[in-house]
Assembly symmetry: C2
Homo-oligomer: 282 residues x 2
């Protein structure tokens, strides 16, 4: 796939040639935001939600987006058209720009990339193992590019035979580095942390869909709640609903639970609905 | 200065053409480390200390440096020779590399740049104002490129008429985003935070030199200690010793204090000594 195209500041380029000068604030200071959504059968899924969040993150991080929403949409449509990858992941990155003093925010650089969609179907079917990790993201409400701790923590997870970490701070659970977490408690209520998390788009729509099947709550989840939970799963654009079978030494059974599987089925139907109701802009 | 040279992975390039592909882990995940030292009259000052710390940061962040210490030194010497900027700042950046899945650490990219040295002599002479900011860097012992909070916090400082912030967590002072902090207490002791800070090279040598003039301590500094301090200053490679005249609503006088000025004098002499004792490698 080395003929893939990307977009830099509105200019179409071959992805393999796409580059940023070394003074960009992402390279010198790790400063930028991004967002990510998928296309299924060339339909961008929940794309408007992602654009909303992208503009929201940009505002929090004082990064003026150098294009209107309409222009950004047109760039994404152009990328979808030229690359022609029906099932894909599309990423928007907005960096701090070419800073004259390597610290002050300059005119942001906007990157749009598209890659074939990578879904780990085995993990979605068989479940994963997590470990808790003591950390609280500093600006959780913005989708920044700051994954310093997430990447470093992944090493700890792997060393303990786990697939990833879930952040916990003072005994309160928040989120995984790249996913939100939900539990089913012993009363079969579906619960996800309310505060200090990035509010994922999959999380948002699962809260809506979940209500048709369960009592749904956004509230604090403690380590004790984890110990007493019946089922646990994480969710994201690429993970959809991925069951969690083990956290630290807490086990939730040898295979995904019934509630999680019911929600996976409802989620699949929701994605199908999204695709069927999508009207491409010509 | 658009004929400046930089080095990328051992290759000499014009800085204005130096770039990283958009899949580099610094751009997509803000993942990388750096270090920075100055040359005065073409003498690299405390350069071995900076190399030590660069290798230390790389180790903490699981980034293998693709060159030996000797090779890296040769690259820096080549940059110094071709650019011919006697008073300069030299930056080494090591990123997470071109990650195939935009998350896993790959072969790191190494960048070496040189710029004319920018010292704010007015601030060093007249002092600055800080505000405290509630934050603790997550991996303080490594010099990562993660300045997400530092850059965001600077806006709050400017809005309050201050020059920068100093991080505080649970009433305990740590460091500025780009400098270490020292106080003189009412017993004329020179004190700097011992824990949860990046141990700066200027800090290290000030602790050594300071002993010749004062009782020197590395220990916890609380907000109460700030309120009772006689003098405060911050230090770094570009800030040397910059007096602090005000933190929040605490004032330390209208001009830099006597102890700070005495240390500035000693520091100037130390830098002169370093330059005089430097033997360039041919």
């Amino acid at each position: 796939m080395n003929n893939l195209h990307a977009m830099i500041n509105g200019q179409l380029v071959l992805e393999k040639d796409a580059a940023l000068g070394i003074n960009d604030l992402s390279i010198v200071r790790g400063y930028g935001i991004f967002d990510f959504f998928k296309t299924i059968e060339s339909c961008p899924v929940f794309f408007q939600d992602n654009l909303d969040r992208f503009f929201h993150s940009a505002k929090i991080m004082d990064l003026p987006i150098p294009f209107s929403r309409k222009e950004l949409t047109a760039q994404i449509q152009a990328i979808i058209k030229i690359n022609n990858i029906p099932d894909s992941g599309i990423k928007l990155i907005l960096t701090g720009g070419y800073s004259p003093d390597a610290y002050t925010i300059a005119k942001p650089n906007l990157i749009v990339t598209q890659q074939p969609l990578k879904i780990n179907h085995q993990q979605q079917k068989e479940g994963i193992k997590l470990i808790t990790y003591d950390f609280q993201r500093s600006i959780p409400e913005a989708k920044t590019i700051d994954y310093t701790m997430g990447i470093k923590a992944l090493k700890s997870a792997k060393e303990k035979g786990a697939d990833d970490v879930v952040y916990m701070s003072s005994g309160v659970l928040t989120e995984c580095p790249r996913a939100n977490i939900f539990i089913f408690n012993k009363d079969n209520e579906l619960i996800t942390p309310a505060h200090n998390v990035l509010k994922g788009i999959t999380r948002k729509h699962l809260l809506r869909i979940g209500k048709e099947l369960f009592t749904v709550k956004e509230q604090i989840i403690t380590y004790q709640d984890l110990e007493h939970a019946k089922e646990v799963f994480i969710c994201s654009t690429t993970k959809d609903i991925t069951p969690v079978l083990e956290i630290d030494s807490i086990r939730y059974g040898d295979s995904p639970g019934e509630h999680t599987k019911a929600l996976q089925k409802a989620w699949k139907e929701e994605l199908r609905k999204q695709i069927q109701s999508f009207t491409p802009v010509s």
